[in-house]
C-alpha cells in the first residue's frame, strides 16, 4: 500500500484537538486471542469466487477477495476500534510466491493464514514462528489503521505457484474518552485499486451511538449502503448501532505513470470516524456530521464557521497578532498601498516565527510546522483589515485530492488570505523559512476555492463566493542558467561557470539547497533592526566560544551544501570537481534566487583522429526519457505548474579548432501544451547555445498529451546531438 503524505501537513500545521489518547494496554493478549476467534475462514465462502478472470491470468497475483471491516463501538467509558481485514490471493508466478513467502503483519494484531493448494486441500499456517522486526515493511503488508508499532515477519512454508494464500489480521484498540473533546480516528484517502488486480472488495463499517462517520466515494467508486442494525461489544444486536458497506468488483491494478494524480483518476474513497459524547468540536479542525447520518460533504459555510469558531480560541497567539499590528503601526503608519502593507506584515510574521523556531539558521527546522493554517489566516486577516486592506478568507485544497467541493476531511483544507492589491486579488498562504510573498504551494496553482467575506472584529461571516486561484504563467516559474564553458588543455575536461537564476516555484524548490550555511536569521535581524541582547551577555571567552561554534556549524552546513550541489550536478554530468558556489541573491524577499557555481566536468569531449567530437547536446543536462509505456497515456498529465527552463551556454572553442555540424542542433517545437526551441551559432570563436523549454499548462489533458510528448522528445533528441571541433 502506497503511503503518500499530504503536502499540506508539512506546509500548514493544524492546531487541532487530538485523538491520540494512548490505547489501554490491558487485556491486549487476551483481546488478540479473542478477536482472532471472530474470524472464520469458512465465513463468506459463498460471496467470493476462486476463479481468476481470463484477462488477469498473466498477472503475477490476483486478489480474489478483500474484506475490510471497521467497527467503532462503546465499552463503558472507552471507544473501541476494531479492524478486521481478510485477503484471499492467488499466486500466479514465482515472483508472487517469493513476495508472499515472507509475510508481515502488525504487532498487536491477531493473524491467521491458510494456504489452498491447487488440488483444493487446505493447510493452516502456525504464526508462532513469527519474528518481531523493526525494519521497513513492504507497502502491500502495511495495515490501514495504526501501522507504526512494529511488525511480525513470518516465513510462509510450502508456498508454490498456483496456491491461494488466505489470511486475515484483526486488531482492537481502546481509547479513553476525554470529556469535552472529539476523538478523531485516522482519516483516509484511499484508492480502491491495488498493486494487484482485485476480483471483489468489501468494506464494512459498524458505528455505535456517539460515533460520527464521514464518507464519500469518487471517480466511480461505489457508494456506501446502509445495512441493518449492528452488534455491540457483547455481541448483542442493537438498533442504535448502524452498519454500512460498499462492494467493488473487477478492479484492475493501478499502474503509476509519470505526472499522475491517482486520487483524481482511480476509484477513491475518503473517510474518517469521530467520537464525541456531546457534539463539541468548535475548537477542532474536524468536520463532523449529525447523529445517525453519514456526512459526505463539507459546505462552504461550515469552513467559514469553523474558522470563526477557532478564531475565538486564539488567545495564545494574541502576542504575535499584537506584534504584527504594532510593527505596522510603528513603521507603516498612514500607508495606504495594500501591497506594501501585505508584504510588510507577511515578512515580519515570517521573521517572528523563524526567530521562535529556527535554531542558528538551521533549515532542518521548518517554520511551517509552527504556523498553522487557521492561525496564519487569522493573523493576516486581523492585521490587513485593521490597516484598511480589503482582505478575505480563502479556502482551497491541493489539486491531487480533487476539487474544494469534494473535501471531506479537515486535513484536506488549505486556508489563506485573498486581499485586493493594486493589480487585483492577491493571495497569501502559510510560509516556510524562505517562502517569498505570493510564492505559495505549487499544488494549489489554478485550484478552485471559496472566498469568505469575514468581519474579523465581530468574527462574522458576511458572505462567500466560488473562485479559482490564478494559474501561474510559464514565465513566472523560471529556471535560467547562463553558462560559460572552457575546454581544458587536456581536451577531456570542461571548466563550467554557471549562473543560476530561479523564480517562482523553482525558487521554492532550490532555496534550501542554495541557502545552505547562509545566516539568513542574522540578515533578517539586521533588516528589522532587531538586537539580540542575550547573545551579548556573559564573559568574552564564552561569547567567542559561541561565535567559534556557530562558525563551525556554518562550515559543516556549507560542506553538506557542496556535497548536495555536487550530487545535483552529478545527476547530469560526470563531475571531476565541484569548486565553488556563491550566493548572489537570496530571493527571500525578492523575485529571484541567484547563485553562481563553478565545477569541472568530463566525458563530453572525445578525440576523433585529429579532430574532437563534442556531446554539446548534453550540456543542457539530462532530459526526460519517455519510454513507450509513458507515451501511451490514460489519464491527464498533472505537471504541477507551468514553467520555463532556459539555457544560455557559451563554449569557448579552443584555439586551432573550428566548429562543424551545427545544423542538427536547431529545434523549434511550439504547440498548445509546450515548446522546445534551440538556437546554436558560432560567433567569434564561441559556440553559443540557447535553449528554451516551456510547459505551458499545469494539467495536460490526455487529448493533448502527444503535443507534450513532441516537446519532451525534442528536448531529449537535442541531448543526443554532437558537433565536431575540426582541427584547422
Amino acid at each position: 500500500m502506497k503511503i503518500v503524505y499530504l503536502p499540506i501537513l508539512v506546509l500548514a500545521l493544524s492546531l487541532s484537538q487530538t485523538f491520540a489518547q494512548r490505547p489501554s494496554e490491558r487485556r491486549t493478549q487476551e483481546k488478540i486471542a479473542e478477536i482472532g476467534n471472530d474470524v472464520d475462514f469458512n465465513k463468506g465462502s459463498n460471496i467470493y469466487s476462486d476463479v481468476i478472470p481470463e484477462k488477469w491470468l498473466n498477472e503475477s497475483a490476483v486478489i480474489l477477495y478483500t474484506n475490510a471491516s471497521y467497527s467503532f463501538l462503546r465499552r463503558n467509558q472507552f471507544s473501541v476500534m476494531k479492524e478486521v481485514v481478510r485477503k484471499r490471493i492467488v499466486l500466479n508466478d514465482k515472483a508472487a510466491v517469493k513476495e508472499f513467502s515472507e509475510f508481515y503483519y502488525r504487532k498487536s494484531t491477531a493473524a491467521g493464514f491458510q494456504i489452498i493448494k491447487t488440488d483444493g486441500s487446505t493447510r493452516s499456517i502456525d504464526a508462532k514462528e513469527a519474528i518481531l522486526v523493526d525494519t521497513t515493511v513492504p507497502n502491500f503488508f502495511r495495515t490501514s489503521y495504526k501501522y507504526s508499532d512494529g511488525y511480525f515477519k513470518l516465513a510462509i512454508p510450502g508456498l508454490e505457484v498456483g496456491d491461494i494464500i488466505d489470511y486475515f489480521y484483526a486488531s482492537e484498540d481502546e481509547f479513553l474518552d476525554e470529556s469535552g473533546t472529539v476523538t478523531a480516528f485516522q482519516p483516509f484517502i484511499q484508492s480502491l485499486q491495488s498493486d494487484y488486480p482485485t476480483v471483489k472488495l468489501d468494506i464494512d463499517f459498524t458505528v455505535d451511538r456517539g460515533f460520527y462517520l464521514s464518507f464519500n466515494a469518487f471517480n466511480n467508486a461505489p457508494s456506501l449502503i446502509e445495512g441493518g442494525p449492528g452488534f455491540d461489544i457483547n455481541g448483542r444486536q442493537r438498533k442504535s448501532i448502524q452498519t454500512y458497506s460498499l462492494t467493488a468488483s473487477n478492479l484492475d491494478k493501478y499502474e503509476d505513470s509519470i505526472w499522475d494524480y491517482q486520487f483524481v483518476n482511480s476509484p477513491t474513497i475518503k473517510y474518517q470516524v469521530y467520537y464525541s459524547r456531546k457534539k463539541i468540536y468548535q475548537g477542532t479542525e474536524y468536520f463532523v456530521g449529525n447523529i445517525g447520518e453519514v456526512k459526505n460533504t463539507v459546505k462552504p459555510e461550515e469552513i467559514a464557521n469553523r474558522f470563526l469558531e477557532k478564531s475565538g480560541t486564539f488567545y495564545p497567539h494574541i502576542g504575535i497578532t499584537a506584534q504584527l499590528v504594532s510593527y505596522l503601526q510603528k513603521n507603516f503608519r498612514g500607508e495606504s498601498d495594500p501591497d506594501i502593507i501585505a508584504e510588510a506584515a507577511y515578512y515580519y510574521y515570517r521573521f517572528l516565527v523563524n526567530s521562535m523556531v529556527v535554531k542558528n539558521n538551521d533549515d532542518d527546522l521548518d517554520a511551517s510546522y509552527t504556523v498553522g493554517k487557521y492561525i496564519f489566516a487569522y493573523n493576516m486577516l486581523k492585521v490587513l483589515q485593521s490597516n484598511g486592506v480589503e482582505a478575505k478568507l480563502l479556502a482551497t485544497t491541493p489539486r491531487q485530492y480533487g476539487s474544494i467541493e469534494d473535501i471531506l476531511l479537515g486535513d484536506e483544507l488549505i486556508l489563506g488570505v485573498e486581499y485586493i492589491g493594486k493589480k487585483g486579488p492577491q493571495y497569501l498562504f502559510p510560509f516556510s523559512n524562505h517562502t517569498s510573498l505570493g510564492n505559495y504551494f505549487f499544488n494549489i496553482d489554478g485550484a478552485d476555492a471559496y472566498v469568505f467575506d469575514v468581519d474579523m472584529k465581530k468574527l462574522n461571516l458576511l458572505g462567500y463566493q466560488n473562485t479559482t486561484l490564478p494559474q501561474t504563467r510559464p514565465q513566472d516559474n523560471l529556471y535560467l542558467t547562463k553558462t560559460n564553458i572552457t575546454i581544458l588543455d587536456d581536451f577531456e575536461k570542461l571548466d563550467v561557470e554557471q549562473l543560476n537564476i530561479l523564480a517562482g516555484r523553482f525558487k521554492n524548490n532550490y532555496s534550501g539547497l542554495a541557502l545552505g550555511g547562509y545566516r539568513y536569521l542574522d540578515v533578517d535581524r539586521e533588516f528589522y533592526d532587531f538586537e539580540d541582547k542575550k547573545s551579548k551577555r556573559g564573559n568574552k571567552a564564552i561569547f567567542n566560544e559561541k561565535l567559534r561554534k556557530e562558525a563551525a556549524i556554518d562550515n559543516k552546513r556549507k560542506e553538506k551544501q557542496v556535497e548536495m550541489l555536487k550530487s545535483r550536478i552529478e545527476d547530469h554530468f560526470a563531475v571531476e570537481e565541484y569548486i565553488a558556489i556563491e550566493l548572489l541573491e537570496d530571493g527571500r524577499m525578492s523575485e529571484n534566487l541567484v547563485f553562481k557555481e563553478n565545477f569541472v566536468i568530463k566525458d563530453l569531449v572525445y578525440k576523433a583522429g585529429q579532430n574532437l567530437i563534442f556531446d554539446v547536446g548534453q550540456l543542457i543536462g539530462k532530459q526526460i526519457e519517455l519510454s513507450d509505456k509513458h507515451i501511451v497515456r490514460s489519464y491527464d498529465a498533472q505537471l504541477g505548474y507551468s514553467r520555463t527552463i532556459e539555457e544560455e551556454i557559451v563554449v569557448n572553442v579552443p584555439n586551432g579548432y573550428k566548429v562543424k555540424g551545427l545544423h542538427d542542433l536547431q529545434f523549434d517545437i511550439d504547440n498548445s501544451t509546450s515548446s522546445f526551441k534551440s538556437q546554436v551559432s558560432e560567433v567569434d570563436n564561441q559556440l553559443i547555445i540557447k535553449t528554451s523549454k516551456t510547459y505551458k499548462r499545469n494539467v495536460v489533458p490526455v487529448s493533448l498529451w502527444m503535443q507534450q510528448v513532441e516537446s519532451l522528445e525534442a528536448a531529449y533528441t537535442f541531448t543526443q546531438k554532437k558537433v565536431i571541433l575540426e582541427k584547422i
Binding site: M1, K2, Y5, L6, L9, L13, L15, S16, Q17, T18, F19, N58, E59, S60, T66, N92, V97, S101, E102, V133, S144, K153, A155, P157, G158, L159, E160, A184, F188, I189, Q190, S191, Q193, S194, D195, Q262, P316, H317, G319, K359, D411, I542, E545, K546, R548, K549, A552, K556, Y606, K607, A608, G609, N611, I613, E625, S627, K660, Q720, I724, E726
Partner: protein, 650 residues
C-alpha cells in the same frame, strides 16, 4: 488497496509553550569554555585524521576467562573494553555501535564525562539486519553522546560476556574511528591452553609481551599498537579479514583435576562438534521417497539422477535463512525443509544429501568458508567457515552441490566457493578437499554485431551468449520478475535502457534452462550515433564501453572485488556505405597484464570495418598495488571506445 494516512495533528500550542519559545528565541549555549590545550590537541588530531569526527585517544580490551558452571560449556570469556574519545570537531553527535548476539551479550555500558562524572550513554539496544538473512540473533547496542566542543573528551566502556569461549573467535586492532593507543590484553589462567593466531601482521607495528603472574596463576599476553587509522570503507572491497591485522583466538584445552580436556585444539575437534550437531538431526525421509523416485526415474544415468535432485532443490526450496543461536550451525531436518519449501544453506544441503542418499548415492555434508573470508581449516575455529553445501561422489570424484545457487548446473561452481577448502563429513573423520577453481573463461560473454548505416542511423543485428556467473545471474534475476513484467525487462536488458536503440525483433534461448549457453539474437535500429559534417561521417560503433567508468579513486587503499572473473569477446562489423571510403580508423589499444587484459582493435577488410574487443579479468579481486596500472589501462580503453570512425565520400 492504495491509501494515504492523513495523520491527525496533535500539536496543541499552549500559552506556556508559546511564551517559553518567545522568551528564549536564541540559542542557549553551554556556559563553559574548554581549556585551550584540549582544543589545540583536537586541531592537531583533525589535521592528522581529517576524515574523522573523533579520535580514540586510548582503547583497551581485556579478556579474562572463567570456568563455566554449565557441564556442556567448559570455559566462558569476559571482555572489558574501554575507550577515551576526543572530538575533533564541534557539535559532534557521537554515535557508535557494539555488536552482540545470543552467545555474547553486552552489559555494564557506562560513560563518564571529561571530569569523571557518570553520564548517560543513551544506549539503544536493537536488532541488526544482516544482509540476506531472514532472521538471526545479531544485535547492536548504539551509544550516543553529544560532544559539543572540539577537544571535548569522554570515556565509555562495556562488558561483553561470551558464554562459550569458542564464540570468541577474532579480535581486531582497528576501530571505526582512529585509535592513538590500542591495547589488547588476555589474562589467561594456567588451566587454559590458548593460542593467538596472528593474521595480516606483516608490516603491522605491534608490540607484544607475555608476563607470567605466578601468584595469580595467570599469564598476561599484551598486544599494543599505536596511531591506527579508522577502518576504511571502500566500496566493493573484500572482507576486512583479508587485509586488516587481527588475532584469531584458539582455545585449545582446559586442565581440570589434572586432566586435559580438549576444546578446539585442532580441526578434528571442530569437526567433532559440527558432527555432533548433525548427529542430533532426526531426518524423517519417508515423505521424500516418492519425490526422489519420481525424479530419478528408471533409465537415467547417475549424472542425470544427481542433476534431477540437485535442480529440484534449487527450483523448489527458497533460501530463507534462520541463524539464531545454535541454528547458525545446525541444519534443519530434511522433512521440515521439504514441507516448508524453504531453508538456509545448511537445511538445503541436508535435504540434498538426504534425497541423494535415498537415490543410492554417497552424499555428504560439506562445511566451507566462502571467498568472503580468507581462512582454511588449518585454523581450528568457528571463524573459518560460513557456508554448508553437499558433496556427492560420482566416478570417484566429489561433485559439490550448492543448492542456494539457483540455476547453476552440475559441475559448475559459483565464484564464491571456487577454490575454497572444504571439510567433507566422513563418519568419525573428515576429508579436506578443495572445490575446483574455474578460470575466467567460464564467464564468457561472446558477442557479434553486424550493422550498416541507414538514414543517419545504424541498422543491424546482434547475437550474444552468456555463460558461467553471467548466465546464472541473469537467469536468477529474470526468474524473480513478475511474469507480466518479463517482456519489458528483457527488452530493457537488450537495449540497455538506451532510448536510442529500437528493438525490431528479438529471440532468445530458453530463459529457465541452466545447461548450455544463454543466447540472444536481435535486430536493432540505433539512432544518434552518427554525425555528418559535409562529406564526412563520424560514427561510433561501441555502445557498451565496458569498464570505462571503473576507475579507482586516488585515496582508495583497499582491494577491489569485481565479485566475478570476466571474459568478453566481441566482434563488430560495420559495412562501409556505398560511395564512401575510410578516412580514419581508431588506433585501438592492447594492454596485456597478468591479472587483466584489454584489447580493442579496428581494421578494414574489404568493404567492412571490423572491430574486435577482448577483455579478461583473470582474478576477481584487484589488489591496490595494481590500481595505478588499471587506471592507466582504462584511460587507454576509454580513448579507444570513444574514438570515432571517419568515413568520407569518395
Amino acid at each position: 488497496m492504495k491509501g494515504i494516512h492523513l495523520s491527525v495533528q496533535n500539536r496543541q500550542v499552549t500559552l506556556l509553550i508559546y511564551l517559553a519559545l518567545w522568551c528564549v528565541p536564541n540559542i542557549v549555549w553551554a556556559q563553559r569554555v574548554l581549556p585551550e590545550k584540549y582544543r589545540v590537541r583536537a586541531e592537531a588530531l583533525a589535521l592528522q585524521y581529517p576524515d574523522a569526527s573523533e579520535v580514540n585517544l586510548k582503547s583497551s580490551s581485556i579478556y579474562s576467562f572463567q570456568r563455566s558452571k554449565r557441564s556442556d560449556i567448559p570455559v566462558s570469556a569476559t571482555q572489558k573494553t574501554n575507550y577515551e574519545v576526543m572530538s575533533t570537531e564541534d557539535n559532534n553527535a557521537f554515535k557508535t555501535a557494539i555488536f552482540y548476539n545470543a552467545g555474547a551479550g553486552v552489559n555494564k555500558v557506562i560513560a563518564r564525562s571529561r571530569k569523571g562524572k557518570m553520564v548517560d550513554p543513551r544506549a539503544i539496544y536493537t536488532n541488526y539486519l544482516s544482509s540476506g538473512i531472514f532472521h538471526d540473533d545479531v544485535k547492536i547496542c548504539i551509544i550516543n553522546y553529544d560532544l559539543d566542543t572540539k577537544g571535548e573528551t569522554f570515556t565509555y566502556g562495556y562488558e561483553k560476556r561470551y558464554e562459550d569461549i569458542k564464540f570468541l573467535t577474532s579480535v581486531y586492532f582497528h576501530e571505526q574511528s582512529p585509535v592513538l593507543e590500542k591495547e589488547i590484553v588476555f589474562e589467561v589462567p594456567d588451566w587454559l591452553e590458548i593460542d593467538f593466531h596472528e593474521i595480516n601482521f606483516k608490516d603491522f607495528e605491534v608490540s607484544k609481551s607475555k608476563i607470567n603472574n605466578a601468584k595469580q596463576g595467570t599469564t598476561t599476553y599484551t598486544f599494543s599498537a599505536k596511531n591506527l587509522p579508522a577502518f576504511k570503507k571502500d566500496s566493493n572491497s573484500p572482507g576486512i579479514a583479508y587485509d586488516y591485522p587481527h588475532l584469531v583466538v584458539l582455545a585449545k584445552g582446559v586442565i581440570s583435576d589434572g586432566k586435559k580436556q580438549k576444546l578446539l585444539a585442532s580441526s578434528d575437534d571442530l569437526y567433532a562438534w559440527y558432527s555432533s550437531l548433525v548427529n542430533e538431526l532426526e531426518n524423517d525421509n519417508d515423505q521424500l521417497i516418492p519425490l526422489v523416485e519420481s525424479l530419478i526415474g528408471e533409465s537415467k544415468s547417475d549424472i542425470e539422477k544427481v542433476a534431477s535432485i540437485f535442480y529440484w532443490v534449487q527450483d523448489n526450496i527458497r533460501y530463507i535463512a534462520f541463524e539464531e543461536g545454535i541454528m547458525g550451525f545446525k541444519p534443519e531436518a530434511s522433512h521440515n525443509v521439504y514441507s516448508n519449501r524453504y531453508g538456509d544453506c545448511k537445511g538445503m544441503a541436508n535435504l540434498t544429501k538426504q534425497m541423494l542418499t535415498l537415490a543410492g548415492f554417497d552424499a555428504r555434508l560439506v562445511w566451507l568458508g566462502t571467498n568472503s573470508i580468507p581462512y582454511d581449516y588449518n585454523i581450528p575455529s568457528l571463524i573459518v567457515d560460513n557456508h554448508m553445501i553437499c558433496a556427492v561422489k560420482l566416478d570417484d570424484t566429489w561433485e559439490y552441490l550448492d543448492a542456494t545457487e539457483t540455476f547453476i548446473g552440475l559441475g559448475d561452481y559459483a565464484e564464491r566457493i571456487q577454490g575454497r577448502q572444504v571439510m567433507i563429513e566422513n563418519g568419525e573423520q573428515y576429508i579436506l578437499e578443495n572445490v575446483p577453481e574455474l578460470d575466467y573463461t567460464r564467464n564468457l560473454l561472446s558477442r557479434k554485431i553486424k550493422m550498416s548505416i541507414v538514414d543517419k542511423s545504424l541498422k543491424g543485428n546482434e547475437t550474444f551468449s552468456l555463460n558461467g556467473e553471467r548466465k546464472t545471474s541473469f537467469l536468477r534475476q529474470f526468474s524473480a520478475l513478475k511474469t507480466n513484467k518479463q517482456d519489458e525487462a528483457l527488452s530493457n536488458y537488450l537495449s540497455k535502457h538506451d532510448k536510442n536503440l529500437h528493438l525490431e525483433r528479438y529471440s532468445n534461448s530458453n530463459l529457465s534452462e541452466r545447461s548450455g549457453l544463454l543466447q540472444f539474437d536481435f535486430d536493432f535500429l540505433l539512432n544518434n550515433q552518427i554525425v555528418t559534417v559535409g562529406d564526412e561521417i563520424y560514427v561510433n560503433i561501441d555502445r557498451y564501453k565496458e569498464f570505462s567508468s571503473v576507475n579507482f579513486e586516488k585515496d582508495r587503499t583497499r582491494p577491489y572485488d569485481f565479485n566475478n572473473k570476466v571474459f568478453l569477446l566481441s566482434e563488430t562489423v560495420l559495412e562501409i556505405p556505398k560511395g564512401y571510403r575510410v578516412k580514419y580508423l581508431p588506433v585501438g589499444m592492447n594492454e596485456e597484464l597478468e591479472d587483466f587484459s584489454f584489447s580493442v582493435n579496428f581494421e578494414q577488410i574489404g568493404n567492412n570495418i571490423i572491430s574486435k574487443k577482448q577483455i579478461a579479468i583473470r582474478q576477481s579481486i584487484i589488489d591496490e598495488s595494481k590500481f595505478s596500472t588499471w587506471n592507466s589501462t582504462i584511460d587507454k580503453v576509454k580513448s579507444a571506445y570513444n574514438d570515432q570512425i571517419i568515413l568520407i565520400k569518395k
